[in-house]
Amino acid sequence: MSWSGLLATLRPRAVAKDEDGTEPDPRFTFANERTFLAWSRTALALVVAGLGIVQLLPPFPGVPIGRHLLGVPLIVLGAVLAVVAYAEWVRNQRALRRGEPLPRSIIPWVLAVTIAGMAVVSAIVLLASALR
């Protein structure tokens, strides 16, 4: 059996068989899917960044856990972002099927707050390292 045939047997029914809705315009479904994929790539980029900080950056003098302090939250955020992106995809697809307004996304807010927090932590680590 080909890869395609094997995976086709895993076809889910939960979203597609939403009794309250009808099949939306395929272009909307594709757009929703592309948005999910874009967030997935963002999640992967966060993981790469976190791993790169921990594994490749030289240590911060005087701050032995500095690299982990910066890198580990990014990796965790990557995992969280992937799950939230999936939840958003389901919510959006359901709204599309039912002809309801699209729900507001919380992902940009989560990402903005986390990146701002990471910027503050980075500044503190760099200052602490420079002052040693």
């Binding site: 086709a8 272009r27 592309r34 992967l44 790469v48 791993l51 594994q55 030289p58 965790v76 992106a85």
Partner: protein, 121 residues
């Protein structure tokens, strides 16, 4: 918006609307397929980074890339009834699960793996 109007087109009649999307909704499918390809490349890139520090983990992540590419290829295979990919939410779930698994593996590598500081010097 209702179903695309391409189904109402007849041979010999000019395409309806100025938007290329109205004339060929397959462009949306093409863009989605390209998005899947970019996602597969992202997995391969992450695997390459991990390969520098942990070969087995890196190979596992790199091996996910062709799977993602294959899932994306299904975007081109539409059901004749709905014009949607033959496999729907499963693909989304597979990607989500893959990223969570990759994140956990990366976390293990970050916490337990030997660092190679200076690689960016």
């Amino acid at each position: 918006m209702t179903q695309p109007e391409h189904a109402a087109q007849r041979p010999g009649r000019p395409p309806q609307g100025d938007d290329p999307e109205d004339r060929d909704p397959g462009l949306a499918r093409e863009r989605t397929s390209l998005a899947w390809t970019r996602t597969a490349i992202s997995f391969a890139a992450l695997g390459g980074v991990v390969l520098k520090t942990n070969v087995i983990t890196g190979l596992i992540i790199v091996a996910i890339a062709p799977l993602v590419w294959e899932l994306g290829r299904m975007s081109r295979i539409g059901s004749p009834d709905t014009n949607l990919p033959a496999v729907g939410a499963t693909r989304i779930r597979v990607i989500t699960a893959s990223i969570v698994a990759v994140s956990l593996l990366s976390l293990l590598v970050a916490l337990l793996g030997p660092a190679t500081p200076g690689a960016l010097r």
